[in-house]
């Protein structure tokens, strides 16, 4: 059943088959999570929005006309939900308050790293996160983000340099 193409699984999902849709979840959840983490920068938020994306996908799947494009469609839903989420958070002024709280240096190395990733601008964070989720393939990221290969390389380079600055600043502050 794992070998079924997307359009077969989408067609089954459109008839309400949760088993078929579960296979699409297994196939695309990782990519959806990477996009959410790249945009939001927070692991817990990314997990919540990735879940919401997959559930919304199931509820809206009957509206999908080009079933072979499920991947693009579900990533578009993820991006839109992330933007809505950030807008809501910004509106409530919770996002900035949380960022300020999380910017405090901690002793845990992974927390430092996660906080540094969170503080990267989204335009650098998304390619960097996708780079590590996508087997370090700049070519594949360029296709997914619809930007040039050299553009992806430039963003990853900028992300790496900024991340280094953030991490060394954290170490100096400790």
């Amino acid at each position: 059943m794992n070998d079924f193409s997307d359009d077969i699984l989408v067609a089954a999902g459109q008839r309400g088959d949760r088993g078929a849709y579960a296979l699409l979840v297994k196939r695309y959840y990782r990519e959806v999570f990477a996009v959410c983490l790249g945009i939001l920068g927070d692991v817990d938020d990314a997990e919540d929005i990735a879940q919401d994306t997959m559930l919304k996908g199931f509820l809206k799947i009957r509206k999908l006309r080009r079933s072979e494009r499920f991947g693009e469609w579900i990533l578009r839903i993820a991006r839109n939900l992330c933007i809505d989420f950030l807008r809501r958070k910004r509106h409530l002024r919770l996002f900035l308050a949380k960022q300020a709280a999380e910017a405090r240096p901690t002793t845990n190395r992974n927390h430092d790293l996660e906080a540094a990733i969170r503080r990267l601008p989204a335009e650098y964070r998304l390619p960097l996160v996708m780079y590590y989720f996508d087997n370090k393939s700049a070519k594949s990221i360029a296709e997914k983000l619809n930007i040039s290969h050299s553009g992806v390389c430039q963003k990853i380079r900028a992300a790496r340099k900024q991340l280094h600055k953030l991490l060394t600043k954290e170490v100096r502050n400790e």
Partner: protein, 132 residues
């Protein structure tokens, strides 16, 4: 540290990311072997690369659990207001049926085209024969 270091540090970042052009790798390696500042920068970026790889490997380790959470929530969610059916098989059959139907339609059209053309040629021949 010399005037090349700024440019080399950009290339060090590209080298760690695996996107540096083959022709430039040796230039960077030669510089790094003689410049302690760039060598230290390279070691730091390598260490950060390993940390990042470890962090994302940790996310991957959780991925299965997160997927299962979605799937279990999905099983509690109502469908589209009608009974759920196991329809992968049906979708597959429908897909195959559609393909065979399309192939049959093409064959019928081609056959009809030949029959009409042959009939038409035969009638023209008959006409010419009567005229002569």
């Amino acid at each position: 540290m010399n005037s090349d270091c700024g440019e080399i540090k950009d290339k060090v970042a590209d080298l760690i990311s695996g996107v540096l052009a083959e022709a430039e790798i040796k230039t960077v390696q030669d510089h790094v072997s003689q410049c302690s500042s760039c060598a230290e920068y390279m070691r730091a970026l390598q260490a950060e690369d390993e940390l990042l790889a470890g962090l994302f490997a940790g996310f991957d380790a959780n991925m299965r659990g997160w997927q299962d959470d979605v799937i279990s929530t999905l099983s509690e969610t109502g469908t589209f207001g009608r009974r759920e059916t196991v329809s992968v098989g049906r979708a597959l059959v429908r897909n195959l049926v559609a393909r065979h139907a399309a192939a049959a339609a093409v064959m019928i059209v081609v056959t009809l085209y030949f029959i009409i053309t042959i009939t038409w040629i035969w009638q023209i021949n008959e006409c010419i024969r009567h005229c002569l």
